[in-house]
């Protein structure tokens, strides 16, 4: 029986920011239909893009260069790859590394030999080189020592690699940084944001990683052929499809979401809108139910293959696996006779599942509804300059009310308690790597970055004492330039309700990996595997088709 009260509320319901924007929940996010690599693959498949490898100039030691070309209806993009022979003792995934197994740039158009020569003088040096406005991204990758040589050795002997070894690692190489948006001379985001194929977030970076996945397979097959000669075989298609591209990420990724509040809002609000649309449906067709069950089964397989030794993740994985079994059992009776069957399923999940399971359910219920939600990906990018100009005509009373509405979570915290200010974010001199210090014992707290949004909001609120509600923000900022940064954020949060992470980002309980997991889930990352509370590995494009055989494979 439908519940009319519930039904009425459901039609407009998005989960509120106070639920969605908490670190623990963000740290339970799963990839879904609107994740950026899914957006890219849909475009590549539906837009009749074609792919080839016009350059493969690599010697028997695996040293040389290659070009992977993606030709779309309007424009061409090329991944330029440089393959190196890296001594084992130089291999590190940290940003402070200085050399890599392979380095890449995504070129805008078809590169000439002169372009390739120019890039060869710069791309292998990564941050220490310069690229130009003709390039859209700069990246590098290291081999998985465990898997890479195993695969080369087996293929060289004419054998396939061990399936268990393959599943245990999941990738041949992992990227350790993918720079875009004007970094090191690359094209500014504003220069390319108007292109349809690059309008959604991180499309150039996703394309670069997808083409990199092709390179990782090509280079093992090349080395196997060089080693084994006529005896060598190519990688089995099924094993190959199971490989993604790894990514190894440290703290550098965590501040991104805090530094891009409008973008964060648009990601979160869009995802919540997608969920609300599905929950508002009054029917569940047979095809939708079948697709939902198929997605649930795929999620169970994915969770079974998902390895981590980190205690936090081990516990979360146990929650997830248990919850996925509960979901699968619940789906035996789906759809129910409720007026809003999807909503009934969702409410059941909220009452029954862990946060890990609830967020997995979100990804599952979106899966059968491409027609309903895929178009929302157009709403996920942001012109962040739109939030830059401060509205000085806002009154102090207005600002107070924004702080009450949007920062109540922050104003409640007692920052005089050491635990609530236990840490500080700073930028290291070493390659400008963002790091997190211990305020009581580490040097550098005087150089704290303004990522402590909660405390900044509280300090702003305190400084408003003595100002009248009718005074102008412009007049306040003339006397208090130290609050300009937070006033800008508050005015953004006023217009964009999902702009702020609603947790204390400097408390001793804060886990940076929660921020990273949220961002990586929006990228489409699977197999989130923390190596500490500040360092993770993930996999991208596992199960997806390869550019050079686009027709094969499916993505979850």
């Amino acid at each position: 029986m439908g519940n009319p009260d519930l039904a009425q509320a459901t039609v407009v319901l998005r989960r509120p920011p106070s639920v969605v924007m908490r670190l623990a929940r963000m740290g339970s996010a799963h990839p879904m239909r609107l994740s950026f690599l899914r957006v890219l693959l849909r475009r590549m498949q539906s837009g009749a893009w074609t792919f080839d490898r016009p350059v493969w100039d690599v010697d028997n030691k695996g040293v040389g260069r290659a070009v992977y070309r993606a030709v779309g209806p309007d424009r061409t993009y090329c991944l330029v790859a440089f393959s190196h022979d890296l001594p084992d003792d130089m291999r590190s995934d940290r940003v402070i590394a200085t050399a890599w197994d392979a380095t890449f740039a995504l070129f805008d158009g078809d590169p000439t030999v002169e372009d390739l020569d120019r890039l060869e003088q710069n791309v292998p040096y990564q941050e220490a080189g310069r690229i130009s406005g003709r390039e859209l991204s700069l990246s590098r990758a290291n081999r998985s020592v465990r898997l890479f040589s195993h695969v080369v050795d087996r293929l060289a002997k004419g054998q396939q690699p061990d399936a268990e070894e393959m599943a245990g690692v999941g990738y041949l190489m992992r990227t350790t940084a993918v720079y875009g948006s004007g970094k090191f001379g690359a094209a500014d985001r504003r220069e390319i944001a108007g292109r349809e194929e690059l309008a959604a977030p991180f499309q150039a970076e996703m394309l670069s990683v997808w083409l990199t996945r092709q390179f990782t397979v090509d280079i093992v097959e090349h080395l196997a052929a060089a080693k084994g000669g006529a005896a060598a075989v190519r990688l089995d298609v099924g094993l190959k499809r199971g490989l993604g591209v790894g990514n190894s990420t440290g703290l550098g990724m965590a501040p991104f979401l805090v530094r891009h509040p409008i973008l964060l809002n648009n990601w979160m609000m869009t995802r919540e809108e997608a969920l609300a649309r599905v929950r508002s449906l009054t029917t569940a067709t047979e095809a939708q139910v079948a697709a939902l069950k198929e997605a649930a089964q795929a999620a169970i397989v994915n969770a079974a293959d998902w390895r981590s030794e980190h205690p936090i993740q081990v516990s979360k994985l146990a929650d997830l696996r248990g919850d996925l079994e509960r979901i699968a059992a619940k789906l035996d009776d789906f759809p129910s006779s409720d007026t809003y069957p999807w909503n009934a399923l969702w409410i059941w999940g909220e009452e029954t599942l862990s946060e890990e399971g609830q967020e997995a359910l979100l990804a599952l219920v979106l899966e059968p509804h491409g027609d309903l939600v895929d178009g929302l990906s157009d709403c996920m990018s942001a012109d962040e300059s739109a939030g830059f100009t401060i509205d000085g005509s806002m009154t102090i009373g207005g600002l107070r009310s924004v702080l009450r509405d949007r920062y109540d979570w922050a104003l409640k915290i007692d920052y005089s308690v050491p635990e609530e200010q236990a840490r500080f974010w700073y930028v290291s001199e070493e390659k400008l790597e963002p790091r997190l210090g211990d305020r009581a014992t580490d040097d550098g707290a005087s150089l704290e970055q303004p990522l402590c949004t909660g405390r900044l909001a509280w300090e702003l609120e305190q400084s408003l004492n003595g100002w009248s509600d009718g005074d102008l923000v412009a007049a306040f900022l003339l006397r208090h330039p130290e609050h300009r940064f937070m006033v800008r954020r508050a005015q953004i949060a006023d217009r964009f309700p999902y702009a702020e992470v609603q947790d204390n980002l400097i408390s001793d309980r804060m886990l940076p990996i929660d921020l990273m997991r949220c961002k990586l889930a929006f990228f489409g990352a699977t197999h989130f595997d923390p190596r500490s509370d500040k360092w993770v590995r993930i996999s991208l494009f596992q199960g997806a088709p390869y550019p050079l055989d686009l027709s094969e494979g499916v993505v979850r």
Partner: protein, 237 residues
């Protein structure tokens, strides 16, 4: 080909050995570099953001705002919160001394569209201001929001600023001034020629010096800080 190691303590390109001449930077790089440099020189975070965006706006129009910002930062960031007072009877100076162009620009931007905005039919004297070229982006922003073009004047010259744009006349003279007695007034002329957008070209020495300020926002490495930021175990597996 081998990949020679580079210096891991460096943020990026080493400009010190790259000789004379100009380098093309992305606008994002200009904004980030200038913002960090302003912060490193002592500006508040919020004003440092304004400095970065303003310098990028100028550089994207072929005006060497980053060099002007550098000169200003080298002479010392001025705290002018007690130098300017804005009341219903207008803008006036509480005490003598230079105004910071970023703080003044931010105030012009903040008050634009309120009854207290300085840009109206009669000229408002703003007094002695450092690196006045840096005001142009703020005036252009104010002009865009109010739909009111502005004339910026100094002894012997003027510059015309329209919504989001600046006319070429007077710009190079203004760029050369380390400080000037300035005033602003609304312009009835709305049809203002504007400088076309271009790539950002910066002198290597300017980049190097700005980077020197920017690095003051960073913390020197230690073994502990390096270890804390990484994986709990080897990442070479």
């Amino acid at each position: 080909m081998t990949a020679e190691p580079n210096d891991p303590t460096r943020a990026g390109t080493d400009w010190t050995d790259s000789g004379e001449g100009k380098v093309t930077l992305s606008r994002n790089e200009v904004e980030t570099l200038c913002s960090k440099a302003a912060r490193g020189a002592g500006m508040s975070w919020g004003l440092a953001e304004e400095a970065g965006v303003a310098a990028g706006w100028l550089a994207a129009r072929g005006i060497d705002g980053p060099a002007a910002l550098l000169t200003y930062l080298q002479t010392g960031v001025v705290d002018c919160r007690d130098r300017l007072v804005i009341m219903s009877d207008g803008w006036s100076r509480l005490e003598a001394g230079l105004l910071c162009p970023i703080a003044l620009g931010a105030a012009i931007s903040d008050f634009a569209g309120t009854d207290l905005g300085p840009i109206g039919p009669s000229r408002v004297s703003l007094g002695s201001t450092a690196a006045p070229i840096l005001l142009l982006p703020f005036l252009a922003g104010a002009a865009r929001r109010t739909g009111q073009s502005v004339c910026l004047d100094w002894e012997g010259g003027t510059a015309k600023v329209g919504p989001g744009e600046v006319a070429p006349d007077g710009v190079s003279e203004l760029l050369g001034m380390q400080h000037a007695e300035i005033g602003v007034q609304a312009l009835s002329d709305t049809n203002i020629a504007h400088l076309p957008q271009t790539v950002c070209r910066l002198d290597r020495r300017v980049i190097e010096a700005l980077n020197g300020f920017a690095m003051k926002t960073t913390v020197p490495p230690s073994e502990k800080s390096r270890a804390d930021a990484g994986a709990g175990e080897s990442d070479n597996d």
